[in-house]
């Protein structure tokens, strides 16, 4: 990371321009992925990422330059490019930086870089063996262990100099089950903003068993019927419904330009009164947490929806200007190769008071979506979709048979209004969210919920 004096020199140079704000983002990251197939280590891939991004604002315009050659001549060349693009000036204020110190909310106990590779490979082996042992129909297991240490330092022309270290780990297990010609898969991908101590609580064996269980269920799954029906979406990764149907449409990236179905709706009811939802980047050691956002502001908890009323958007500093509102410390990016923008962290629907059994009451025919896959949304039209990885038909209020090949689609404008029951079993699941500023770790989450009607896409017509 660059020294304070050097940064002051660079930022002062940036401000000798038409810019009213300048920022330097530095990143030094080590990633390590170990991959295993059927108990054999296939690859170990280590990556060192080291780069810098320089951003200037002039009113609502932004200019961004990035590179990974951080010697003075290369950095000054980037600065010249951004000054030229925004308009050069001979004079400008000298920037004086003051380092902001704080207490790390996400301490790590077992540093992955201090642990021998063989011990890390053993985490995969434990998951692999548990999946293989689950059933003789499990014929193949693929797994990977990702460990990341991302160091960032952010300085800007307001004098702020602050850093953060984000350590993350994630285990991915995919089990393949075979019965005759029927070949199916199941997966489990837990992760956290933790070191390897994560696997003391989240046993790799459990992930192996879970992946195998899902693959085996899918062996007996029938084609999913299509059409509109009530759907119960289970907790944890089921929260992807909120992430897609609503979360992206509350990001300033779309709201600030009136490209969201929720633009101009603050204070209005956008969800059933039983729905409250938050985006909270402060949860200790959660997958989507960090001490500071990627503009150097302390992460916080944002209440997005309270009792069905829209209470907050997620806003970065540049869009705060466009929206004439305060930023919400929501700026994130994959790396120095992306200009940051408003993004989610750990986003979830809060608990209600229904029991799991109550969700099923009165449903003659519906879908119980136990495990969700990913999805996507068009924030401007509100249309969203997401995949069901493990689902069951509900018949006469009871879970009936497993189904495969289902997706759920709808419009964010009305889906939240159709949530009529929420359980008290809140749980989160880990995902990688892709958007304008790249792929970032986010937690999705919710208790089990019931949606009174949603379009289910399947292959069986009834």
């Amino acid at each position: 990371m660059l020294e304070k004096k050097q940064l002051e020199k660079y930022l002062s140079a940036c401000m000798r321009s038409e810019a009213d704000f300048a920022e330097i983002y530095e990143q030094f990251e080590t990633d390590e992925t170990i991959s295993m197939l059927n108990g054999e280590v296939e690859d170990v891939n280590r990556i060192t990422i080291s780069g810098i991004g320089i951003r200037l604002y002039k009113d609502l315009q932004s200019v961004y330059a990035y590179g990974n050659e951080t010697d003075e001549a290369s950095v000054m060349k980037l600065i010249e490019e951004v000054r030229t693009a925004i308009g050069q000036k001979e004079e400008g204020p000298d920037v004086v930086l003051e380092r902001v110190e704080y207490e790390n909310r996400h301490p790590v106990r077992i540093d992955f870089e201090a642990v021998p590779l063989a011990e890390k490979a053993d985490i995969l082996k434990r998951a692999n063996d548990a999946a293989m042992a689950a059933d003789e129909r499990i014929v193949k297991v693929s797994s990977s262990l990702l460990n990341v240490r991302q160091n960032v330092q952010i300085s800007n022309s307001t004098g702020r100099l602050i850093g953060d270290t984000r350590v993350r780990t994630r285990l991915g297990v995919v089990a393949f089950a075979k019965e005759g010609d029927n070949f199916q898969s199941g997966s489990d991908r837990p992760g956290a903003g933790m070191g390897l101590e994560f696997y003391e609580i989240n046993k790799p064996e459990d992930s192996g068993k879970e992946a195998a269980r899902e693959a085996l269920v899918n062996l007996s799954a029938r084609d999913c019927p299509s059409g509109q029906m009530p759907v119960i979406i289970d907790n944890a990764f089921g929260g992807v419904i909120f992430h897609e149907a609503c979360g992206h449409s509350l990001e300033a990236t779309s709201v600030a330009r009136n490209m969201s179905v929720f633009a101009g709706k603050l204070g209005q009811q956008i969800a059933n009164t039983c729905v409250s939802a938050v985006d909270d980047g402060t949860i200790p050691n959660a997958w989507g947490s960090e001490n500071i956002d990627d503009e150097g502001n302390f992460q916080k908890r944002r209440v997005l929806i309270k009792d069905g009323i829209l209470t907050s958007y997620m806003i970065d500093q540049l869009n705060a200007r466009r929206m004439h509102m305060e930023g919400t410390c929501s700026s994130r990016r994959q790396s120095y190769q992306f200009e940051p923008t408003s993004r989610m962290t750990n986003t979830f629907i809060l608990e209600g008071n229904a029991t799991f059994e109550e969700l099923f009451e009165g449903i003659e025919k519906g879908l119980y979506a136990k495990k969700m896959g990913g999805g996507s949304v068009n924030p401007q039209t509100g249309e969203f979709n997401f995949a069901v990885n493990e689902g069951y038909m509900i018949e006469n209020g009871k879970i009936s048979y497993p189904v495969k090949g289902a997706s759920l689609i709808g419009n964010g404008r009305d889906i939240l209004l159709h949530i009529d029951k929420i359980c008290s079993n809140l749980k989160t699941g880990q995902g990688n969210c892709g958007s304008r500023s790249g792929s970032i770790p986010t937690d999705v989450g919710q208790p089990s919920i019931r949606v009174t009607s949603i379009t289910v896409g399947g292959t069986a017509n009834e």
Binding site: V44, R46, Q228, N385, G457
Partner: protein, 441 residues
């Protein structure tokens, strides 16, 4: 980075061979919004990947810090990595091979910033005025990207290839009552000064406005045409079916299908990294193996498995020059390059006329999640239009299409003539199918 010094040091440390892959990419991007430049992005990124064989295992490492004082530490790390790798199949560092290089036909003219801004300003105005139902120009950007890659190894290979691409993208939103639709259009442009802004604005406006007043279809099974854009997305999502890595590992559903009928007679698939109609071409893959044209599927029969050196070793075959890296940080994987379904004779209009009544899918969403590669089942959100008596009738949205890809590709009724490479490296014409399950009302 003194590459020779790194290679010599690695050999001295016990590597039997060693390779340095470097990519250099630089970008210029201008976006435009409400009458002024919105963002300007410029970059220069040098990425380095090292790989070498140590104690019979191939080891990979990627870094952006290649100062020579990192050499000993990184080579030591690679040796540590080799100790835990237990798989028997390994990639091979290639010796240089003679090959005649194909030269791109593209004649890029780099525009100055003033021309870029003038074009974007003009486009914004023209799109906004193209139709009264256009409510917003939501995206306008100009991208120029230069990228090069250099492979140097201990067997004497030294390969250098570079590419340049210029891309203009725009998006617009249109409204009818409470209904809002948006659409995007992208075009590869060799010479911006010769670019027809009127035609581009008109087409984008027509496309987005045509999405309005959309209805949901009744759930059912209908004859379907996947228009070229939607078909390209779907085919690209399943193109790893031909990957020798996934076939060798027994994960691809085509694992036991070589030389058997997998698709309709009407489908022929070609992979040709040297195709000069495509935006980019590659004379070598990322292992330095010369590339060549190959027929993957010949009138429905699966003829060629794509291979890198490693996947080929697993199946006792030879590399097809399809060992590519997603980026310098990724290990070499198997991937097609300029892969396409060979076009047929009929235009999209003729396909619609032949279908008489059915559904044309123009857009698919959720492809990263809504497909199950292992079974090839998919269920995806889609939009498009209904065809009645062979002609476009009304727009359709918020429905899903679900099928099994391998089954569906056996039910092809016609392949269109409208192959358009645009900015893609995997591309198909429009294709008509007997029937797919549509879920709506």
């Amino acid at each position: 980075m003194n590459k020779q010094k790194w290679i010599e040091y690695a050999l001295q440390e016990g590597f039997s061979d060693f390779e340095i892959y470097q990519s250099l990419s630089s970008e210029k991007k201008v976006t435009w919004y409400e009458g002024q430049m919105d963002t300007f992005v410029t970059s220069r990124v040098l990425g380095t990947a090292l790989r070498g064989t140590y104690q019979s295992q191939m080891v990979n490492l990627a870094t952006e810090d290649t100062s020579d004082d990192q050499m000993e530490r990184l080579i030591r790390q690679m040796k540590e990595q080799s100790a835990v790798i237990s798989t028997e199949e390994t990639a091979a560092i290639a010796a240089p091979a003679e090959c005649e290089e194909t030269v791109s036909k593209k004649a890029w003219v780099r525009p100055g910033n003033e021309l870029i801004k003038k074009t974007l300003a003009e486009l914004e105005e023209k799109i906004a005025k193209a139709d009264p139902r256009i409510i917003q120009v939501i995206h306008l950007s100009w991208n120029e990207e230069d990228s090069s890659r250099e492979i140097t190894n201990s067997k004497g290979m030294r390969i250098f290839e570079e590419t340049h691409v210029q891309l203009l993208q725009a998006g617009a939103a249109a409204a009818s009552g409470n209904e809002v639709k948006n659409d995007y259009r992208a075009e590869v442009i060799e010479d911006l000064s010769a670019f027809d802004t009127d035609a581009f604005a008109k087409k984008l406006a027509e496309d987005v406005v045509s999405k309005l007043d959309a209805v949901q279809l009744e759930s059912g099974t209908y004859p379907v045409i996947f228009e070229k854009g939607a078909m390209t997305s779907l085919f690209a999502a399943f193109v790893d079916l031909f990957s020798g890595d996934l076939i060798g590992k027994g994960i691809s559903p085509l694992r036991d299908s070589l030389n058997t009928k997998i698709f309709s007679d009407l489908i022929t698939v070609v992979d040709d990294p040297r195709n000069t109609d495509a935006v980019m071409l590659a004379n070598y893959d990322d292992e330095g193996t010369p590339t060549y044209r190959k027929v993957l599927v010949d009138e429905g029969v699966f003829k060629t498995i794509l291979h890198s050196s490693r996947s080929a070793a697993r199946m006792n075959m030879t590399s097809t020059g399809n060992g590519y890296k997603g980026s310098y940080t990724s290990p070499v994987d198997v991937s097609p390059f300029n892969c396409y379904i060979v076009p047929g004779e009929k235009s999209l209009d003729e396909l619609c006329a032949d279908m008489k009544d059915g559904y044309v899918i123009t857009d698919l969403a959720g492809l990263h999640a809504g497909i199950d590669f292992v079974t090839t089942n998919f269920s995806l959100q889609c939009s498009g239009y209904w065809v009645r008596d062979g002609k476009r009738d009304y727009s359709v949205s918020l429905v899903t299409v679900a099928a099994n890809f391998l089954e569906m590709m056996k039910q092809v009724t016609a392949v269109g003539s409208d192959l358009d490479w645009k900015y893609h490296s995997i591309v198909t014409p429009s294709i008509a199918f007997k029937g797919c399950a549509i879920s709506g009302k």
